[in-house]
């Protein structure tokens, strides 16, 4: 029997990338896990010591933690959900031929390529209750009679930040789904037409199944990114007013800023575990679907 000769080359070639990932990702993660078991507060450096699960117990009893977690679920479900819906609509539109399609495709990427900090600052002024463009537009259209302090009211602040993240994320879905749409063979639609399928049937029986894997991957990526995102919310509201826009990642960031790194690390670990609970079944289902399709 022919025995494969051991070659060190594959390991040596991936070593630089692996070492970089270990240094930049795994080491900080291990450090964070270690800190989560300590009272690691730089305001009281003489009191830093191992405390076991004390930080985790604190989180379980912290009403702000649970509120932030709930906010995160809503933030992701509504934000990613509507990004997907509007992104899909945009992809279907951009898949058609029309004059200026190339320019429209380029312009539609603007929200995606704009840095999150800039998005936060820009929308902060758009939503402004005294000078904001949105209030001006709504008043001119006769939809409101008094200006709305969108970011100063608890009832409107969270929907406002969700609207902002939807605006930011639409191009990502549009781009990925457009690429998927362009890979669907035209013959499938021709055959469906011959069989008398209507637009509704063609969409749900051809388009959506053909894009299943793309949809799975893009929504999983966006769920993780949106759940972890801080920049947009922080620059819009910093988690206020009255913690109404404070998702878990923003809470982690705010707590980290107070230099209570032990507790911030604890919440970051819990957020990662929550995301893993979503990601693992997702990936299992994706791999199973891929196996079945072979």
């Amino acid at each position: 029997m022919h025995r494969r000769k051991f070659s060190p080359w594959p390991y040596l070639l991936i070593a630089p990338a692996l070492i970089t990932i270990l240094a930049v990702v795994f080491f900080p993660v291990l450090n964070a896990i270690f800190m989560s078991f300590q009272s690691y507060d730089l305001r009281r450096p003489s009191q830093i010591r191992f405390t076991g699960l004390a930080n985790y117990a604190t989180a379980m009893h912290d009403p702000l933690f649970w509120q932030a977690l709930l906010k995160t679920v809503i933030w992701v479900a509504v934000g990613v959900g509507l990004q997907f819906v509007f992104g899909f609509m945009l992809a279907l539109l951009l898949n058609r031929k029309f004059p200026g399609r190339g320019i429209v495709r380029s312009i539609s990427l603007i929200p995606w390529v704009t840095p999150g900090v800039l998005i936060g600052l820009m929308w902060r002024w758009i939503f402004d209750g005294n000078y904001g463009v949105l209030n001006d537009l709504l008043m001119r259209l006769g939809l409101i009679h008094d200006k709305i302090p969108f970011l100063a009211q608890q009832s409107t602040a969270f929907p406002s930040v969700i609207l902002t993240i939807i605006w930011q994320g639409i191009p990502f879905f549009a781009l990925m789904l457009l690429a998927g749409l362009q890979g669907i063979p035209e013959e499938l639609y021709d055959a469906a037409n011959v069989d008398g399928a209507n637009a509704f049937q063609r969409f749900f029986l051809i388009t959506v199944p053909s894009l299943k894997n793309t949809i799975f991957v893009t929504t999983l990526l966006r769920i993780i990114w949106v759940a972890n995102s801080v920049d947009v919310i922080f620059n819009l509201t910093e988690g206020g007013p009255a913690y109404s826009t404070q998702t878990l990642s923003v809470y982690v960031f705010n707590k980290g800023n107070t230099l209570n790194l032990g507790y911030a690390s604890t919440m970051a670990i819990l957020l990662a575990l929550a995301l893993a609970l979503v990601a693992v079944p997702y990936l299992k289902r994706l791999f199973k679907a891929q196996e079945e399709s072979r």
């Binding site: 305001r43 450096p45 005294n130 302090p149 007013p241 913690y243 800023n257 107070t258 230099l259």
Partner: protein, 412 residues
């Protein structure tokens, strides 16, 4: 032989003298971090550094680097840089950060430097006491630089329009907020709000005046007097005498609202007076926040620190001294309008004849600072704005809000 010995001795002495002179004149670079409220102030700091570099005669070169104040995030940025092994030699600083920096042994004890400093007595001794108190030790770790006493800006033209005089008491002040809230064009909507309330971080400073005016203080925020002060604050918003955006209004927003005529009064300090005069000319003035049962206004402070990681401490202190009592003090305070800590500079006609400086000095006797604890930074940045926003939005009573603030600041 004797001649030879004298010659050798003179040669050795010359070499030693040259070495000493050479060491003294060895070029040294000091990196200084600062924040600036606007580009003009930034340019002024760069000029001060350039002047110092040209005149110190000791080969010291200061490189002044600007970082944004960002509602207090400057202190966090500085801390992270220094604790990470980087950061500058010296930096602008706020007293509230002292416990954090001293707990981590990041600051140089200035006692020895001050003992040898010929201009030490040009600064009010009570200021050194304040610096010592902030560190919780008997030593000075923070070098005084300038102060800002908060007062109330107002528009004389709007006061005349509303038929209101400058309030002398807290009750008159609350009444003025009501009368100055006006619908100026008859469309049934408020065009001018009486009070430009600051609900975002930093707003705890004007808020403190309400607490003390009712007889409360910061040692116990749950007394009936303190709660009443909070209720007054909430009522101003609830009754529509402050803009609806107040819960999230920070420095930029309150200044923009005042400058656009949306608010008739707002609280800030002399640091913004030059911009106010540029906008309004004579139609802007100020009065000290009036007292009621008690009286308090925030003494904004800006100091400078010498980081323990600096490799050129002597040179760094010389730069700090220049800023505190030298030409740097005069240049900075004239440009920004801040109250100088140097008694000599305070006597200059520029400060004696400035109407905003007079109001600052009038408020000085009852100007104070928040308790400097290791919880203060989080309290200012997160707990205060979110708790007050909940109270302003009607989601929390004044009593509950004060209880939250008490626990957040004092831990119990």
């Amino acid at each position: 032989m004797k001649r030879k010995l004298v010659f050798i001795l003179m040669a050795v002495l010359s070499m030693v003298a040259a070495a000493v002179v050479s060491a003294q004149q060895k070029p040294v670079t000091i990196v200084h971090w600062y924040w600036a409220d606007n580009p003009a102030y930034s340019a002024q700091m760069q000029k001060i550094a350039a002047d110092f570099n040209a005149t110190n005669g000791r080969g010291i070169t200061v490189v002044a680097q600007e970082y944004p104040w960002d509602g207090g995030a400057y202190s966090e940025t500085l801390f992270r840089a220094v604790i990470g092994g980087g950061g500058p030699d010296t930096s602008s600083f706020k007293l509230t950060s002292t416990p954090l920096f001293t707990a981590n042994k990041l600051l140089v004890n200035l006692d020895d430097f001050l003992a040898k400093w010929k201009d030490k007595d040009k600064i009010e001794p009570s200021l050194y006491d304040t610096m010592r108190k902030a560190s919780g030790t008997k030593s000075v770790y923070v070098m005084p630089w300038n102060t800002q006493v908060l007062y109330v800006y107002y528009r004389p033209s709007l006061f005349r329009k509303a038929g209101v005089s400058v309030p002398k008491t807290y009750a008159e002040f609350l009444e003025a907020c009501k009368k100055l809230t006006m619908d100026t064009n008859g469309d049934g909507k408020t065009d001018v709000y009486g009070f430009g309330m600051r609900g975002a971080k930093g707003g705890q400073e004007p808020w403190g005046s309400f607490i003390w005016a009712r007889g409360g203080n910061f040692d116990n925020l749950t007394t009936p007097q303190a709660i009443q002060g909070m209720q007054d604050f909430i009522d101003l918003y609830k009754n529509g005498y402050a803009p609806p955006t107040a819960p999230m209004d920070g420095f930029n927003e309150i200044i923009a609202n005042f400058k656009s005529g949306k608010t008739a009064m707002t609280v800030h300090h002399i640091g913004s007076s030059i911009g106010m005069v540029d906008t309004f000319g004579d139609d802007v003035d100020a009065f000290p926040f009036p007292g009621g049962v008690g009286q308090w206004t925030s003494m904004g402070d800006t100091e400078n620190i010498l980081l323990a990681s600096s490799k050129n401490k002597e040179a760094a202190f010389e730069w700090l001294a220049y800023l505190a009592t030298g030409k740097g003090q005069e240049a900075w305070c004239v440009a920004t309008g801040n109250v100088p800590v140097s008694r000599d500079v305070q006597q200059l006609p520029f400060f004696q004849n400035n109407r905003f400086m007079k109001v600052s000095i009038e408020g000085a006797p009852y100007a104070g600072i928040f308790p400097i604890l290791d919880t203060t930074t989080e309290w200012i940045n997160t707990i205060w704005p979110n708790t007050v926003a909940a109270a302003l939005g009607g989601k929390m009573s004044a009593a509950d809000a004060m209880k939250q603030l008490q626990i957040g600041l004092w831990g119990k």
